[in-house]
Symmetry: C2
Subunit: 226 residues, 2 copies
């Protein structure tokens, strides 16, 4: 076998291997590499992605690009709404002075909030009809997850201060504040065990554990069976 | 060059080409093939996916596998909820006699509902606290979209008949019914033009057009500016 033939063979082997491994770079979650070859289909990849999103409450103090936040809000715009009314408005809070002020108005799940230096680095204030806004907000948090950005939906908010800070008129109906930033904590969902219940808890290493009701507890087929 | 060497070379060429083209099979939307190489990142693929979901109201009369519907409900289970309470229940309606009955209890957007022979082929009845359920329902419809299944969230429902049909106790709070099936219509989102407003409309070919408020109408940065 001549050197050139051997070289061609080696080149092709490398190309084939590289191409096969290329699918390993696919990473919808932005947090964890998923080997595509272990999945039976692209839908499976999506199921893994959507199940891997967790609320994040401790953030790296890194700048979030405004254009990425705008893409996330753009995805929310395509959520369904009753009668296609789209009764929502989003105020992105990105300027550092305002972000600092916003950090004083959101109230966290007890024992899970950020310490000093772990606060969200941006916010999206959501105004409008609650149920329709909720569809859009779920798009927001999934879209952020796809961008590798952690979020938490916060309903306990000092709205009078937010309205003053962002000059929101009285007529607007406040819904929630979505906090954003690159995650500085890991969080996992687990089947809820009876002795723990649904309380979110942290282990010794600071990892957040989120107990989820089992499928059989929340789903029945062809009739009510709970 | 011997035949076996030539065969190995040809095999490797095919393998390399097949591997390179494999990424073309990625198809989150279940409706339209997207070439991964044309996208700058996996997040872009997600943005395309989430924006391509539309409500579907006319369905092929094809059987939906129960195990796929269960996967979709499983994704809903991982949605966020206030205090991690997960105040939701999902009743899958899959048995043909029940599906037929359910088709009599949902009320459609005027002029957009299915004709005879275009009805949904399965339903998910959602019970629980409205806002938290809405987060989960958005997961449902996106997950169905990933499986190539069309959905519509219907709030106008004859709940007394549903409760009787599925033996739902009075204490349960009804939220919405999600209709499911393989799409028999195309639907696109478009920037809303002033003369059309937000009304969903159909063109001569039966394609559904969904006007969406522009980003600048629903988003402002660092303060309320609408």
């Amino acid at each position: 076998m001549s050197i050139s033939r051997r070289a061609r063979l080696i080149f092709l082997v490398i190309l084939a291997c590289a191409s096969l491994f290329f699918t390993d770079l696919i990473d919808c979650s932005g947090q964890e590499r998923i080997s595509e070859r272990t999945l039976t289909s692209q839908a499976e990849l999506f199921h893994q992605f959507i199940r891997s999103r967790r609320s994040i409450r401790r953030f790296k103090q890194e700048h979030l690009p405004l254009e990425v936040i705008m893409k996330i809000v753009d995805d929310a715009r395509f959520a369904p709404s009753a009668g296609n009314r789209q009764p929502w408005r989003f105020i992105v809070v990105h300027k550092q002075e305002l972000v600092k002020e916003m950090n004083g108005v959101v109230m966290w799940l007890p024992g899970c909030g950020p310490a000093k230096g772990e606060e969200p680095t941006a916010f999206i204030v959501v105004l409008g009809e609650k149920v329709n806004c909720a569809f859009a907000v779920e798009n927001l948090v999934l879209s952020a997850h796809a961008e590798g950005i952690g979020t938490c939906i916060v309903g306990s908010v000092d709205w009078s201060r937010v309205k003053k800070l962002l000059k929101i008129p009285e007529k607007e109906q406040p819904f929630v504040v979505v906090t954003l930033g690159y995650a500085m904590e890991a969080a996992v969902a687990e089947d809820a065990a009876e002795e723990i219940g649904l309380r979110v808890w942290k282990d010794g290493a600071g990892k957040v554990h989120v107990p989820k009701k089992r499928l059989r507890e929340v789903m029945s087929v062809d009739g009510y069976a709970f």
